[in-house]
């Protein structure tokens, strides 16, 4: 590379960093005060971009029209943030944190379909910034707009810093980040403070999106890709540190730009395609930073928010009658019903094992994973590739696939168990995204975006009914194994570690080793689910590893309820069935799903099964009360 091209790539990276910083700063601010990981933050960014596109069309492609549109779009997104806070999140601040997460997933689904309805499925390419041309730097032409973006980043950083350190609002925000209950006891209305924080955070996301209008087309995939980027930036910089977010955004923006700029290089005879690394590089940076500095570049260990949360209740074993009746019913299904139900139930078995394995790691083991699809997808791909590329028989591929997924979990888990809480969750997402990027780009081996075809079971298993029983046997055995393990000393140790890591270690439990083993166990079983799924469909696409697949798993678990064993089963069944039903009737199935989830979140803040249990409990208490009276 020449000096000139280094400078050019540097400028490119810095320009890209501006929006990344804006959206991450908003995410970080909201998390600090409300402790909500706002998955919908990428959606707000997307709305900013679409909003700016439409406003510029309405107001005209003049400098005045352009900049007014950018500002108006950001403010409008701020109002959307206020609506989300007031209508949904405010009602569930007392619910478990994971339930708030579920609510924000639902918002992602709803916003995606609103965007689809308003702006259509085609990418929309915005205009260049009117009145700004290019400047020549070292013999290359650089858009003036990029230089402007490079200046906007530090300006927003300065404005945020002044706001947080020089105003009473800033003092309240920082105080609430540490101890919001005390802030309330001092007479501050938390609801208003939260709303204002959501407004500012959403404006930042909207501005980040709107400013990208000359640089990137508005499209419906932005919501999840931006939230993944924003997670990485927030975690690399340190949660709650605005300065850290800026540093991380610059680091990642520049690294990405250099990967594109370097292109293909020949090092020691090996050809390295750097431009293909752009999808992976940020996650590599994140993995390295988190291992070296577990709380990010400028972050500090999170002070536990003082919320009087009730500890998770002890798990109860599902009753044998319940399990046996369920099994008996499932055994007669293929005889009693049609092909459609058989196929749908086969899907449900796979997702049930997927959900139960996710529940194992996030509930009893206390490690929330945002990237559980990694193991599901790797299991599916292992099965497909062992069959097609290695030429193994299907039976062998099915048995080996979970081991492959488990082997990946050995590596990923080693890093993950070093962290806890949100950092851990985001690192799991990073590993899932690395896996996805590799699978997506390695055309010659994985089939790239097309995936793998012709992944069919052996002839004797190929019948839909036969395969139904195979899926029932394998997934049922997997679920039984996971449940059994929860009531073994190993399971008790994990639950002890979740409730208090310090106390568990003080009585001689090597918690990290146990958590690592748990990681591998659930990774292998999620891989089994993926392998069974792959053979039932006959093809595999990268979407089995996508963030969307991971969030589907989270929705299943949270919908059913984290605190019960049977919750994930109910969640997987209802989610899979509902998605199938709704998707056949409307193009806007995501919005319907999102609204259903929101309704459930607002009505049953303990999940469906948890809510039913609470209802029956109340009913019993009422009855025993009547008896005593």
């Amino acid at each position: 590379m020449t000096f000139a091209s280094i400078i050019i790539q540097l400028l490119n990276g810095l320009a890209a960093a501006a929006s990344l910083f804006l959206v991450s700063a908003g995410l970080s601010l909201i998390f600090g005060v409300t402790r909500i990981v706002n998955f919908a933050h990428g959606s707000l960014y997307m709305l900013g971009l679409y909003g700016a596109y439409s406003l510029i069309q309405a107001l005209g492609r003049t400098p005045m029209g352009f900049w007014t549109s950018v500002v108006l779009a950001a403010l409008a997104v701020g109002l959307v943030g206020v609506l989300i806070e007031v209508l949904i999140l405010r009602r569930i601040y007392k619910a478990p944190e994971l339930f708030q997460l579920l609510a924000t997933f639902a918002v992602v689904l709803v916003i995606k379909d609103i965007a689809l309805f308003v702006w259509g499925a085609e990418d929309l390419v915005g205009p260049r910034a009117p009145g700004l041309s290019t400047v020549e730097i070292l013999g290359r032409r650089i858009p003036t707009y990029d230089l402007l973006l490079i200046a906007i980043g530090p300006m927003v950083l300065l404005a945020m810093w002044l706001l947080l350190t020089r105003t009473r609002w800033g003092a309240l925000v920082r105080a609430a980040t540490q101890d919001r209950e005390m802030v309330g006891a001092l007479g501050v209305d938390q609801a208003k403070l939260f709303t204002s924080v959501f407004f500012v955070g959403a404006v930042l996301a909207g501005l980040g999106g709107a400013l990208q209008i000359p640089r990137e087309p508005a499209n419906l995939e932005l919501d999840l890709s931006v939230i993944a980027d924003a997670f990485v930036v927030t975690v690399v910089g340190g949660l709650g540190s605005i300065g850290g977010a800026f540093l991380a955004a610059v680091l990642i923006g520049v690294a990405k730009a250099f990967c594109i700029g370097i292109g293909t290089v020949n090092w020691f005879g090996a050809e390295i395609v750097f431009s293909k690394l752009t999808l992976v590089v940020e996650f590599l940076i994140m993995a390295i930073v988190l291992v070296v500095r577990p709380f990010g570049l400028l972050g500090k260990p999170q002070a536990a928010q003082r919320i009087a949360a009730d500890p998770a209740p002890p798990l109860t074993v599902p009753s044998w009658t319940f399990v046996l009746i369920g099994l008996a019913l499932l055994l007669v299904v293929p005889i009693a019903t049609d092909r459609y139900v058989t196929i749908l139930l086969t899907d449900i078995f796979c997702f049930a094992l997927f959900a139960v394995s996710l529940h194992f790691i996030m509930g009893p083991a206390g490690m929330v994973s945002f990237g559980h699809a990694a193991y599901f997808g790797l299991g599916a791909y292992a099965a497909g590739l062992l069959l097609k590329r290695a030429g193994l028989p299907m039976e062998m591929a099915l048995v080996l696939a979970p081991l492959v997924a488990g082997a990946f979990a050995v590596v990923y888990g080693w890093f993950c168990v070093r962290l806890s809480g949100v950092y851990l969750a985001m690192l799991t997402l990073a590993f899932a995204q690395i896996s996805w990027s590799i699978v997506f780009q390695w055309d010659s081996f994985t089939g790239g975006s097309n995936g793998v075809f012709g992944v069919w079971p052996s002839a004797w298993l190929a019948g839909k009914t036969t395969y139904y029983y195979l899926a029932l046997a394998f997934c049922g055995a997997g679920i039984a194994l996971l449940w059994r393990v929860l009531f073994s000393p190993f399971g008790y140790a994990l639950r002890a570690g979740r409730d208090s890591a310090l106390r568990a270690e003080a009585i001689g439990i090597d918690l990290r080793a146990y958590q690592w083993m748990a990681f591998v166990l659930v990774g292998a079983l999620a891989g089994l689910a993926g392998a069974v799924y792959a053979f039932s469909k006959g093809s595999i696409s990268p979407s089995t590893i996508s963030i969307a697949q991971s969030t589907d798993g989270l929705i299943m678990v949270l919908l059913g309820g984290v605190e019960t064993l049977t919750g994930p089963l109910a969640g997987a069944a209802i989610f899979t069935w509902l998605r199938d039903e709704v998707a056949r009737r409307t193009e806007f199935w995501r919005a319907v799903m999102g609204l259903v989830i929101l309704a459930i979140v607002l009505l049953f803040p303990q999940g469906l099964v948890g809510g039913l249990k609470a209802l029956t409990q109340r009913w019993r208490e009422a009855r025993s009360w009547e008896k005593t009276v």
Binding site: R168, A171, R174, A175, A185, G187, A303
Partner: protein, 233 residues
């Protein structure tokens, strides 16, 4: 000014308060005495709305407050100083005071930073120091000063002398006298009988979530068997 009647409260399923009743008036310092775990802090938190009252009435200034959110209770002029101080460690002394600030209130002394620095001179020299870099005694003064910034008519002090050096405890006693002089109603919880005798006009004794004694400080001082039964360790 503050009246609690038959208050019941739970932590999860544990029944902590079993019908607590007490009163405190303006210009009066009332001590709530009891051993560790007797329920002193829970009384304070329940009055403040931080723990929800399962049953009973809390009346402040003629208004029922047992169903209100903590910030509404604070805005009526009831100040709360927690036992573990709960200083905002990242914020400077001045910023901690800012968070506690409320508009002036009729019938309550109006506090300014300068007036508070006169009451707690140690704080005046560390205005820009982060709360996390202060000694325990300094933090205790800051947490009281922070609550006073809300111009309360009545303050709940949860174990103000706990863990403080004797010289600081003396200073604390002088400060509480000053608050009484301003006409505030002060309800303080204490294990330290000596300190309470120095500052309080009346006392209640709580044990196992129930009030066992209520009377003047002089009565309590005269009754050795009462102290033996409920307070000695």
């Amino acid at each position: 000014m503050l009246s609690v009647k038959d208050l019941h409260a739970y932590y999860g399923r544990a029944h902590i308060l079993h019908g607590v009743s007490l009163e405190a008036s303006a210009g009066e310092v009332v001590a709530l005495l009891g051993r560790n775990g007797a329920g002193k802090s829970t009384v304070m938190k329940t009055v403040m709305g931080l723990v929800s009252a399962a049953k009973g009435e809390v009346t402040f200034d003629g208004k029922r407050i047992e169903r209100l959110q903590p910030y509404r209770i604070a805005r009526l002029g009831l100040g709360y100083v927690p036992e573990d101080r709960r200083i905002f460690t990242e914020l400077s002394v001045m910023e901690n005071l800012t968070v506690g600030q409320q508009p002036p209130r009729q019938g309550a002394p109006a506090w300014t930073e300068d007036k508070l620095f006169a009451l707690f001179p140690n704080l005046a020299n560390m205005r820009e120091r982060p709360g996390g870099r202060m000694s325990g005694g300094e933090q205790q003064m800051l947490t009281i000063a922070r609550t006073l910034m809300g111009n309360p008519r009545c303050v709940l002090l949860d174990e103000p002398s706990e863990g403080l050096a004797p010289i600081i405890v003396e200073q604390m006693a002088r400060s509480i006298h000053a608050l009484k002089g301003e006409g505030l109603c002060v309800l303080l919880s204490e294990q330290n009988l000596h300190f309470s005798q120095a500052v309080a006009d009346r006392a209640y004794i709580i044990e196992k979530g129930q009030i066992r004694f209520g009377g003047s400080m002089a009565e309590l001082t005269a009754d050795a068997s009462l102290r033996e039964q409920y307070l000695s360790v």
